[in-house]
C-alpha cells in the first residue's frame, strides 16, 4: 500500500505532517531532544519572544486543576536578540520548520521583533500572540478587540514577508469579528486557542494559588471549548486554521481535523508524555490507513451533519 500523505499547507508553508508543538510548552526547541529527534515534528513553535528579555511573574507559576493546569509564566523569555544569537543556530540543524511566537506591549514592539526575525534564515513563519495586554489601552488584550487585533497584525505584516499566523485568545464573546480583523490585517492563517483565564484559591492561606493571582488554563479540561472555537473559526473564514487546546492523543487530534483544522499543536501534553506529538503522528497515520484514506486532506473538514 502507498504510504499515506500527511503533508498539509498553512498559507505558504508546507508541513511534512500536521503536528506541531505549542509555544511555551517546548522551550526553545531542544529540551526533549534526549527522547526523540524534534526534526520528526511537523514544526516547532518556540516560546513567545519579546524585544527585551523578560523575567516573568513571581512564583508559584503553575498549579494543577482537574484535568488541566493554570500557568502564570508571564511570558518569561530570553529576548529575541539572544534567541537569534544563541538558540537559532542550533535549531537550523533540525529537519523541520521553526516558527517563532512573538508578542509585545505595543504594536511598535511587535513590529520590531518581527523585523529582527524577518531577516533570519531558519525561521519559517511567525505566530503572533495577541493574547497579551495592550499597555496603551489599559491592559486590555490586543486580541479582545477587532481594532487592536488589526493594528498589531497589520503592523507586523508591513515588515514581515513570510507566513504570518495570528494566534487568538478564547477570552472573547464572539471570535468572528476578531478573525475578520486579523484577516484584513494580513494574517495568512490563524491558530487557536490560547489559554483561558482562570484562578485557584488556597483555602488555608486564603490567597490565590498563583503568585500573580490568576493565570491561563490549559490541558484536557479545555479541549471541548477549543474544539468548538475551531469549528466556529473554520466556518467563518477561508484562512487555514490550526487547532490547539487539550490535545493529548491521536483521537483528540483527529477530532480537530474533522471540524476543519489543517494542523494541530500539542501543548500541555508534552509535560505529561513528552513523546505525545510523535505518538499522535503515528496514530493519525494508522487511522488513515485503517479508514483507507490516502491523504490527510480527505479527513480535514469531513465532519458529518448530526
Amino acid at each position: 500500500m502507498k504510504e499515506v500523505d500527511l503533508t498539509t499547507e498553512i498559507g505558504g508553508l508546507r508541513l511534512k505532517n500536521p503536528v506541531l508543538v505549542a509555544s511555551g510548552t517546548y522551550g526553545y526547541g531542544l529540551d526533549y531532544r534526549d527522547l526523540y529527534d524534534p526534526g520528526l515534528l511537523g514544526g516547532i513553535i518556540v516560546k513567545g519572544l519579546s524585544l527585551e528579555p523578560q523575567e516573568g511573574n513571581p512564583p508559584p507559576r503553575i498549579v494543577e486543576t482537574p484535568c488541566g493546569m493554570l500557568n502564570s509564566i508571564g511570558l518569561a523569555n530570553m529576548g529575541v536578540k539572544e534567541f537569534v544569537k544563541v538558540q537559532l543556530p542550533l535549531l537550523r540543524e533540525l529537519d523541520t520548520h521553526i516558527i517563532a511566537n512573538i508578542y509585545g506591549k505595543t504594536s511598535e514592539e511587535y513590529q520590531e521583533v518581527a523585523q529582527i526575525l524577518g531577516d533570519q534564515e531558519g525561521i519559517s513563519a511567525l505566530e503572533v500572540n495577541i493574547s497579551c495586554p495592550n499597555v496603551k489601552r489599559g491592559g486590555l488584550l490586543f486580541g479582545a478587540e477587532p481594532i487592536s487585533a488589526h493594528e498589531v497584525i497589520s503592523s507586523v505584516r508591513r515588515v514581515y514577508k513570510k507566513t504570518l499566523i495570528a494566534k487568538l485568545t478564547p477570552n472573547v464573546t464572539d471570535i468572528s469579528p476578531i478573525i475578520k480583523a486579523v484577516e484584513e490585517g494580513g494574517a495568512e492563517a490563524i491558530s487557536l486557542i490560547n489559554t483561558l483565564r482562570g484562578m485557584a484559591v488556597d483555602i488555608h492561606t486564603r490567597r490565590p494559588k498563583l503568585g500573580s493571582g490568576f493565570g491561563g488554563l490549559s490541558g484536557p479540561a479545555i479541549k471541548p471549548i477549543a474544539l468548538y472555537f475551531v469549528y466556529r473559526a473554520v466556518r467563518s473564514t477561508n484562512l487555514p486554521v490550526i487547532g490547539i487546546g487539550g490535545i493529548v492523543d491521536a483521537e483528540d487530534a483527529i477530532e480537530f481535523f474533522l471540524v476543519g483544522a489543517k494542523a494541530v499543536q500539542v501543548g500541555t501534553a508534552n509535560f505529561v508524555n513528552p513523546k505525545a506529538p510523535i505518538e499522535i503522528i503515528e496514530g493519525i497515520r494508522a487511522y488513515l490507513e485503517y479508514h483507507q484514506m490516502g491523504d490527510i486532506k480527505e479527513l480535514i473538514n469531513s465532519l458529518k451533519e448530526c
Binding site: G27, P58, E64, C67, P220, A221, F271, P274
Partner: protein
C-alpha cells in the same frame, strides 16, 4: 535522560505516611548524580495530570528506590501501587550536588522527608562524614534507613534523640567535634532550609540546598518552577534543584 517504564518490586511503609518504592527499570540509571530527580507518573488518568518530581533515593543496577511521603493526589495513588504494577519515570534530571572541597567534612542535614533527597549522597559519605536528621515526632522517622555511624537525630517533641530542630543537632555536633571545616548539604522544608542557610552564613560554611517547587515539565521547557535568586529567577528543574545557599533570596 530517558523516559522509561518502571515495574514495582516493592512498596512499603517505613514510617508514618512515608513509603519506600522499589522499581525495576529497563535502562540502568547508575550515572545518576546525588541530588538528581525523576518525573514520575502513575497511571494514564488525566487527574492528576502532571508528572511529579521525586529524588532518586537509591540507584542500583536496573533498580531505583524512591522514598516518598503521602501528601496529596499523586502520592496517594503511589501508596496503592502493588508489586508488578508499572509507573512511568523520566530522568535523571537536574544538576545534583557538587562534591565537598579538599579538607572539608561533609555534613548532611535532612528535615523529615528531606532525607529522600540525600540518599545517593549518603552512600558516598566517607567514614568521618556526618548526618543530622530532624523529625517532628518519633513515628515520622524511618529509623531503618538512617545510617548508624556519625548521625544525630532530633525531634521537635523530644520523643526521639535530641529535643529540638536540626539546628540544635548541628550545634551539638559542633560542640562535640570541635574545630572542623564542614560543608553542608541540606534538604527539607523551606523554613528549615532558610534556618540552615542562616547558620551556614554566620559560620562561613559552604552550604548546598536541594530545593522544591511545583513543576510541569521538569526539563526546563516551561519556566514554571522558578525561584528567586540573587541573579534573578532560576528554574529549579534545570538550573537546580541544588543551589548554593548564598544564591537564594528568602
Amino acid at each position: 535522560m530517558k523516559d522509561q517504564v518502571g515495574v514495582v518490586l516493592s512498596n512499603r511503609e517505613v514510617s508514618r505516611d512515608l513509603f519506600l518504592l522499589r522499581l525495576r527499570v529497563p535502562y540502568q540509571m547508575r550515572e545518576s548524580r546525588p541530588g538528581q530527580f525523576v518525573m514520575l507518573k502513575v497511571g494514564t488518568s488525566h487527574d492528576p495530570l502532571l508528572r511529579r518530581p521525586f529524588s532518586l533515593f537509591k540507584v542500583r543496577e536496573r533498580e531505583v528506590e524512591i522514598l516518598y511521603k503521602v501528601v496529596g493526589k499523586a502520592t496517594s495513588m503511589m501508596r496503592d501501587l502493588r508489586d508488578g504494577d508499572t509507573v512511568s519515570l523520566m530522568g535523571p534530571l537536574g544538576n545534583g550536588f557538587q562534591p565537598w572541597g579538599e579538607g572539608e567534612t561533609p555534613l548532611l542535614v535532612a528535615g523529615g522527608i528531606g532525607l529522600a533527597g540525600l540518599g545517593l549522597l549518603e552512600e558516598m559519605l566517607p567514614e568521618e562524614g556526618f548526618l543530622v536528621a530532624g523529625f517532628r515526632t518519633r513515628d515520622e522517622a524511618p529509623l531503618e534507613l538512617i545510617r548508624k555511624r556519625n548521625s544525630i537525630i532530633t525531634s521537635e517533641d523530644g520523643s526521639l534523640g535530641i529535643k529540638g530542630t536540626v539546628i540544635d543537632g548541628i550545634e551539638m555536633l559542633l560542640r562535640e567535634v570541635g574545630k572542623t571545616k564542614f560543608s553542608l548539604f541540606a534538604c527539607g522544608s523551606r523554613g528549615m532550609l532558610k534556618a540552615v542557610s542562616l547558620f551556614a552564613r554566620s559560620h562561613s560554611t559552604n552550604c548546598q540546598l536541594l530545593l522544591e517547587s511545583y513543576m510541569a515539565c521538569g526539563v526546563g521547557a516551561c519556566q514554571g518552577c522558578v525561584i528567586l535568586t540573587h541573579s534573578g529567577y532560576k528554574r529549579v528543574c534545570r538550573d537546580g534543584p541544588v543551589f548554593s545557599s548564598d544564591q537564594i533570596v528568602w
